[in-house]
């Protein structure tokens, strides 16, 4: 707890706000949860841009059949790095940024529990990201193994593979440290009267996510470390010739990988559970069942991993077990969707940008959930596994789910963070462009998958051409639309109109009701009392 006393110390510091440093040193040394949150958010945007650029390059190559721009090796490197960068560099950090900004304010705490650790969790990221990007410049280039990094293909890669493995170690460390911090903060630093069941849902989803992270990041670290020793130190964990088994890698990876998709999704659920009530001017329907549903999803996520492996050839009992367990997750997920829709029911609705993104989320995340149900059924999945249907499915969950939730949250809290309003008209345009182009990219990919187009291929038969063209055009549009997003945020920070104390009529968590807008550098030096 001494770290907490420290942050308090800063407030009384003669240099005031920034602990005595200015310029770049302020950011390097900061232990303030808001500064760190801001850095996470910008970092995530940079990675989103890099990953997005790679996506556009992939879609360029897939615009027409034949090899146009890149050779197949480089194409594989692009898909691999796009996936890794989006998952570990863009989506996970953006929600850690939200957590940093909001959790202390929403539970009435002065800062995060371990302020220095918080600084370190962030500053690990740029090193990890550099390793990922640098792997492109190693002999043999970046690994072309897919973000799942299946053995034994990993054994054939050059030094870029080792860079990637090391980057994943560092990213995992950062996530674990960040999670420990979040758990400690939520469990120990709530204001008097803020019982767990009074916490905003965003804090709940993060509490659960943080436990998931602590549980599974070490598993991923184990999987990639075994890959590393197989590559260099003569072990044969994943090599049958030495008594190992390549499928073992997949079990370990997906034991991490399935909870990982909820790590990506749950904080987004939390954001949506704040935004929808605010713009419905009505309390969240079924708060308690939301908490239970989230916990149920988290627990179930540990027993469904092999639904990614129906085609490796499991015994029939294995297939049936994993199928039943997976379809079970549809129940708590359904509860959440019903609760959100019922929250809107008989509310007093307005549709500012955050609410538009929340509705977009609701609609399309549910679509992704339904295709997930289709994929859970063993025989159908055997047709669709490793085809474009899967690519469409997980982008509906990760882009229309997690990314849309992040957009909703950014527009929602931007006034609180900056004290200024963004341009509402441009915000709405950003929503509609993103929505239209997103569906143009990914809806048609369901058709490609059904028709049998495998994923991770740089070239395809002519019967797939039409959908691929539409998909690629959508991707170019989606890329341009995100430039508009950057413009909206920058011009809001530079010269947005001052925001009202409570810009959203229906917002009712502590950061809105008990703190001025913009939020002061140090919030709640004396804790508020929650009734």
């Amino acid at each position: 707890m001494s770290a907490v006393a420290d942050t308090h110390g800063h407030a009384h510091d003669a240099h005031g706000h920034h602990g005595g440093y200015s310029g770049i040193m302020r950011w390097i040394t900061t232990t303030n949860h808001k500064d760190i949150g801001t850095m996470y958010l910008w970092f995530s945007f940079v990675m989103f841009s890099i990953g997005g650029l790679m996506a556009v390059m992939i879609r360029m190559e897939l615009f027409s059949p034949g090899l146009q721009f890149f050779n197949p090796e480089f194409f594989n490197q692009l898909t691999t790095m796009h996936g890794l960068i989006m998952v570990f560099g863009a989506i996970m950090p953006v929600f850690v940024g939200f957590a940093n900004w909001l959790i202390p304010m929403q539970i009435g705490a002065p800062d995060m529990a371990f302020a220095r650790l918080n600084n370190w969790s962030f500053w690990l990221l740029p090193f990890a990201a550099s390793l990922l990007v640098l792997s492109f410049f190693m002999p043999g280039g970046a690994p072309g193994v897919g973000w799942t990094m299946y053995a034994p293909l990993t054994a054939q890669m050059g030094m870029g593979m080792d860079f990637t493995i090391f980057a994943i170690h560092i990213l995992g460390m950062s996530s674990i440290l960040g999670s420990i911090n979040i758990i400690t903060t939520i469990l120990n630093m709530r204001a008097p009267g803020m019982t767990l069941m009074k916490m905003p849902l965003f804090c709940w989803t993060w509490l659960i996510t943080a436990y998931l992270l602590v549980a599974v990041m070490p598993v991923l670290a184990g999987a990639v470390t075994m890959t590393l020793t197989d590559r260099h130190f003569g072990t044969t964990f994943f090599n049958a010739a030495g008594g190992g088994d390549p499928v073992l890698y997949q079990h370990i990876f997906w034991f991490f990988g399935h909870p990982e998709v909820y790590i990506i999704a749950l904080p987004g659920f939390g954001v949506i559970s704040q935004v929808i009530p605010a713009f419905s001017r009505k309390p969240l329907f079924g708060y308690a069942s939301m908490v239970y549903a989230t916990s149920a999803i988290a627990i179930l996520s540990f027993i469904v991993w092999a639904h990614h492996m129906y085609t490796v050839g499991m015994p029939v009992t294995g297939q049936l077990f994993f199928m039943y367990a997976t379809t079970l997750i549809a129940v708590p997920t359904g509860v959440k969707v019903f609760n959100w829709v019922t929250t809107m029911w008989k509310g007093s609705l307005t549709f500012e940008t955050p609410m538009l993104f929340a509705c977009g989320f609701l609609f399309m995340f549910t679509l992704g959930g339904f295709t997930g149900l289709v994929l859970a059924l063993v025989p159908v999945d055997i047709q669709l596994q490793d085809t474009y249907y899967v690519v469409a499915h997980f982008h509906y969950v990760m882009v229309a789910g997690a990314l849309f939730a992040a957009f909703a949250g950014i527009y929602f809290w931007l006034p609180k963070w900056t004290g200024k309003m963004y341009n509402e008209t441009l915000g709405k345009i950003h929503f509609w462009l993103t929505m239209i182009f997103f569906n143009m990219i990914f809806f048609v990919q369901h058709f490609l998958g059904l028709a049998g187009m495998p994923r991770r291929i740089p070239d395809y038969n002519l019967m797939f051409e039409t959908w691929n063209k539409i998909s690629s055009l959508g991707a170019f549009g989606m890329g341009l639309a995100q430039l508009l997003f950057l413009y909206i945020v920058v011009s809001c920070i530079r010269n947005g109109k001052p925001a009202a104390q409570l810009p959203w009529e229906g917002a009712d968590s502590l950061e809105w009701t008990h703190l001025p807008t913009p939020a002061p550098y140090h919030s709640f030096e004396t804790p508020p009392v929650v009734k």
Partner: protein
């Protein structure tokens, strides 16, 4: 900008739509299993559409009717235990109802017993090997490699209808017979995928897995490797030709005749020119993907053969490398090739791209087979 892009998209759609058929659903099933999968998929899709329409009908009604701009005042209810129990229990019941027919299909899909013909399928980077292990045609063994010419891929020749979905030697099976497929791989994981039969089975190095199909009509059916297996992953199609029982018997006889002729080749001595000509073809089918047409490879992953110590050194070392591969590298054994083919490709490597290291005859290769 975006408007232009969208218009261009529509234009592109119109153009490409006329050029060829657009695929957007499962391929027409050619086995009962595939048909059952198709039915299951339709069943869930209808269910999904109904639920989706219900839930989002409610949402859109609310979006329309409960707006602040229409003066709707928010009610403050936020709980209703009965409703919450209902919408937990009903989806659970629906799931159980779906699980019943699905479970039946899973069980029949896994039942590989009672096969008429058993074929071992081996995934190699980047081709398939087929060995007929049991049933009519036992003993037949060959490789199946992409037949689309490089020029089509690079865009210097027009692309054919079966672009990237055509091979030199198809897997040939009789119609109506239960074919058991055993999968394995020599290097990395591949996946043998044939959509029209509803079959996809990973091929895992060092392990055997199995699956089966029974084609219910004759014809040629096409799929692709479905597990990322390195750079040419997009270029290793799976093609099956289903023929009538009589045609199958004929095909088996012809195949056996051809192999007998290949065995004869083993004892012949060829001229350097013959070996070079044949070797170039074998090289193009089996080695270019890694070592490249110019023999320079793509180091560090795939070494050059031009000037390589092995390819210019003693013949034995060269023969052993190609015959047995190099353990734990992408250089796999090429035992499946005939002695004459191996002699030809080795000779070709020893006498191209500036190499000058003499010829190798089939007998020499045969002598080094263990």
């Amino acid at each position: 900008m975006k408007v232009v892009a969208a218009l261009a998209g529509l234009g592109g759609l119109a153009l490409s739509g006329t050029a060829h058929a657009i695929a957007w659903n499962f391929q027409t099933p050619a086995s009962r299993l595939a048909a059952e999968i198709d039915d299951l998929h339709q069943l869930v899709m209808w269910l999904i559409i109904v639920i989706f329409a219900g839930v989002f009908g409610a949402m859109f009604y609310s979006v329309y009717a409960h707006r602040k701009s229409k003066g709707h005042r928010a009610e403050q209810f936020h709980e209703n235990t009965a409703v919450e129990i209902i919408w937990t229990v009903i989806p659970a019941i629906i799931l159980v109802a779906i699980a019943v027919p699905v479970t039946k299909v899973v069980i029949s899909q896994k039942d590989t017993s009672g096969a008429d013909i058993t074929v071992k399928v081996t995934g190699y980077q980047w081709k398939w090997g087929y060995d007929y292990l049991k049933g009519e045609g036992e003993g037949i063994s060959f490789l199946s490699t992409l037949a689309t010419p490089r020029a089509q891929i690079e865009g210097t020749a027009p692309k054919g209808e079966n672009y990237l979905l055509e091979v030199d030697n198809e897997l040939v099976v009789p119609v109506g017979k239960k074919i058991r497929i055993l999968t394995t791989a020599a290097d990395v994981i591949h996946s043998w995928f044939l959509p029209a039969f509803g079959v996809k089975q990973d091929a895992i190095p060092g392990f055997l897995r199995d699956t089966w199909f029974r084609a219910d009509r004759t014809g040629t059916f096409r799929g692709q490797c479905a597990e990322l297996c390195g750079k040419e992953h997009g270029f290793m199609p799976t093609v099956v030709r289903v023929v009538s029982a009589e045609d199958y018997t004929k095909w088996v006889a012809e195949f056996k005749q051809k192999s007998a002729k290949a065995a004869e080749d083993d004892t012949k001595t060829f001229t350097l020119q013959d070996l070079m000509q044949r070797g170039e073809k074998v090289y193009a089918a089996n080695c270019v993907a890694c070592h490249q047409a110019n023999g320079r490879g793509t180091p560090p992953a795939f070494p050059p053969l031009a000037g390589s110590k092995t390819a210019t050194g003693p013949k034995e070392g060269h023969i052993d490398t190609v015959l047995n591969g190099r353990p734990n590298t992408a250089m796999q054994p090429f035992k499946q090739l005939s002695n004459a083919e191996l002699a030809a490709v080795i000779t070709y490597e020893r006498n191209s791209w500036g190499n000058k290291a003499g010829e190798v005859q089939p007998a020499e290769v045969k002598a080094r087979r263990k």
